[in-house]
């Protein structure tokens, strides 16, 4: 039985990483354009609650995920309007998105509190692959979205580093003035990538709702995963493929407190172990706040800076 629970821990770490990868992928794409959206937690919650409500009404998972994506686009468009259009402080607007998303999701989620999930995302049946020892449950025991997420991370990496629009995206984050001088539209690029990033964040929330959570439970539904996703961006030094590894690591540390309890391993109280991912997140967010550390970690050079042509 001992190996059984560790298997479950690894499998769960990879499963939970799906949300982290999707959300941090959204944040990476947004931040690469020079816009920082701290509202991930609020976006996850809005994605989760929208998905639940639409699935409750229609019984259709795809419609639910689509609705979540639409909400993500709308919310991040508000962020883009404030920060790109009106050049407001990105940190303040992002924090407002967290509070707005949390409050609004609580409000519209009131009637579905505690209800059973209308649809559940289940792992794929992959025949003999699923029956392989260890690899079966850990690698081949997931739902289709987990695998699509890996593909998406690969796709995002290819897009950023191997295509012309991707080059423009990176240039917009590093040297928007150059993009502007070459005739590119900084505002256009920032708008589009902020909205695509936002869609990935709400999609992450909706997936978490249907695949991991047991019920809608207001602000506690996502348990601070959005903040972890933000830390993961730094951890992955703004590279999509590195986010996969980091996400599994964070996923493991989210999962391991119960495993240690079940295995009667009491090196540290489980409550302390459960703090680890958040402690790392705190440390990373503090690091992120100094320009020097950001440069060292490979952050987009103009991250968080509104682009103003005449003030160049």
């Amino acid at each position: 039985m001992n190996s059984n629970i560790w298997l479950l821990t690894f499998a769960d770490a990879i499963s939970i990483a799906t949300t982290l990868i999707l959300a941090s992928l959204g944040a990476i794409i947004t931040e690469r354009s020079g816009v920082i959206n701290l509202g991930v937690e609020g976006m996850l919650l809005m994605g989760a609650v929208t998905g639940f409500i639409v699935a409750d009404g229609t019984g259709n998972l795809w419609l639910a995920l689509f609705a979540a994506v639409v909400v993500g686009v709308v919310l991040s468009a508000i962020h883009a309007a404030l920060t790109v259009g009106l050049r407001a402080n990105q940190i303040v607007s992002g924090l407002a998105m967290v509070i707005f998303g949390t409050g609004l999701s609580q409000f519209i989620g009131k009637p579905i509190e505690g209800d059973p999930l209308p649809v559940i995302i289940r792992p794929l049946e992959l025949g003999w692959l699923s029956d392989l020892p260890f690899v079966g449950p850990v690698v081949f025991g997931h739902d289709v979205f987990t695998y699509l997420t890996w593909v998406a991370a690969g796709g995002a990496s290819f897009y950023m580093h191997r295509t012309r629009p991707g080059l423009l995206l990176r240039a917009t984050g590093d040297a928007p003035a150059t993009v502007d001088a070459q005739g590119g539209s900084v505002a256009h690029i920032r708008w589009v990538h902020t909205m695509v990033g936002g869609a990935l964040m709400t999609l992450a929330g909706a997936w978490y709702m249907f695949a991991r959570a047991a019920a809608w439970n207001q602000a506690a539904t996502t348990n601070g995963i959005g903040w972890i996703a933000l830390a993961l961006v730094v951890f992955a030094s703004w590279r999509p493929l590195r986010a996969i590894g980091g996400a599994v690591l964070f996923g493991f540390s989210l999962q391991v407190p119960f495993t240690l309890q079940a295995q009667q391993i009491s090196v540290l109280p489980p409550t302390i172990v459960a703090m680890f991912p958040y402690l790392i997140t705190l440390a990373v967010l503090v690091l992120l706040s100094t320009p020097r550390a950001r440069r060292l970690l490979g952050a987009p050079k103009m991250l968080g800076q509104p682009f103003v042509r005449d003030e160049r």
Binding site: I5, A214, Q255, Q261
Partner: protein, 381 residues
């Protein structure tokens, strides 16, 4: 440029205000409106209790279909019986925020203020000292004052009975228990459940997973899954959501609920039974007391005998034989001939806690800080 920045800042500020309003006040107002509609429909009671201005504070929301849901049923019963309307406040965190909430309720002229979470005890005590004319009543705690009583119930009686159902249903003899916090109330519940299970299945063990939360379905589900992975085929739980049931259902395991049995029908094959609260009659009594100018500050501990505690409906997989056995034991608990905590009882570190033939006094039960033999896990969380 400057002007645009000002506009943007104003936008952000407005968004925050809207969000804050959506999160808190609107929800509270909505609930009050609903209760107004409800009271208008009920027939007028014989006596006038309109001088009773009551408010109740919940840690979660009645939407949890668990702890707060059952309190809310009790409050609705009180409203109907007394012909009053009760103000409900939901999602109030324990600690400093609770103190401010209780202070505000007392200032607003409520004369019966109810709090239903353990962590409200000290905030209520603090505020009660400032408002001697207001009657405070706290569920699940142990501190009282001249104008503050407490009320709770012997859930261990029904937990013991549910343990019998669990022990009888387990093929492997390995049971699991998703538990919130290592406080006496929860420890007592685990112990009673284990004693019940071992009364029919002497080799049964109960493995505990602590979640450090009362209400977090995702976390509770993960804890339940970790227990199922260690081989448990029946789960019990002390949480406010039914996430344990979702995990058990997915794994084809059986489970025992808690608080209410409203969701039993959602788990036709896997639900065994669940210990259930019935707060209504006590709330009616507290309301009538206040109308008579009394604030009963003696601790009230409800039982199966007085109806505050019951055992919920049985699932289809519970055999008639087991149901009969449980009915027999329930009768013995109600007439006082069966006390679940009767020695010899050893803790899971081998130390004798209750001597052979002795039974635990209520005071000892309320302060129980160990896990009995057969429980795998630590009483310290």
């Amino acid at each position: 440029m400057k002007r645009r920045k000002v506009i943007a800042a104003a936008f952000a500020a407005a968004a925050m205000i809207v969000a804050a309003a959506c999160g808190g006040d609107d929800a509270a107002e909505e609930v009050t409106e609903e209760t107004e509609a409800a009271t208008e429909e009920t027939t007028a009671p014989a006596e006038d209790y309109s001088m009773v201005k009551a408010a109740v504070v919940y840690i979660t929301t009645p939407g949890d279909l668990g702890w707060s849901y059952m309190h809310d049923l009790g409050i609705a019963y009180m409203e109907e019986q007394l012909g009053i309307e009760v103000t409900r406040l939901e999602l109030i965190p324990e600690g400093a925020e609770a103190t401010a909430v209780y202070d505000k309720l007392a200032r607003d002229g409520y004369n019966l203020i109810l709090g239903t979470s353990f962590g409200y005890m000290d905030p209520m005590l603090e505020v009660a000292a400032k408002y001697p004319d207001v009657c405070f009543q706290h569920a699940s705690g142990y501190k009282t004052a001249d104008n503050m009583g407490n009320y709770f119930g012997a859930m261990e009686e029904a937990r013991y009975l549910s343990g019998i159902a669990a022990g009888a249903a387990s093929a492997s003899g390995k049971l699991g228990y998703v538990a919130a916090f290592p406080i006496p109330e929860v420890l007592r519940g685990i112990n009673a459940f284990t004693l019940g299970a071992r009364s029919v299945n002497p080799k049964a063990t109960v493995q505990v997973a602590w979640t450090s939360t009362w209400y977090d379905p995702a976390k509770e589900k993960e804890a339940a899954e970790s227990l199922l992975a260690t081989g448990a085929d029946v789960l019990g739980m002390h949480q406010d959501s039914s996430a344990t049931g979702e995990a058990a259902k997915a794994a084809g395991a059986k489970w025992v609920g808690y608080n209410s049995d409203v969701r039993a029908a959602d788990f036709p094959d896997t639900w065994l039974t669940g210990p259930v609260w019935n707060w209504g009659p006590h709330y009616v009594k507290l309301g009538k007391d206040v109308a008579a100018g009394i604030c009963d500050n003696s601790p009230y501990y409800g039982t199966m005998a007085d109806g505050m505690i019951t055992l919920g409906t049985f699932g289809s997989s519970v055999s008639q034989e087991t149901q009969d056995l449980i009915a027999e034991k329930a009768a013995a608990i109600i007439d006082g001939s069966l006390l679940p905590f009767t020695g010899p009882i050893k803790d899971n570190e081998g130390k004798e806690q209750i001597a052979a033939g002795a039974s635990a006094a209520l005071g000892d039960l309320l302060g129980q800080s160990y896990l009995v033999e057969g429980v795998i896990g630590s009483a310290k969380g």
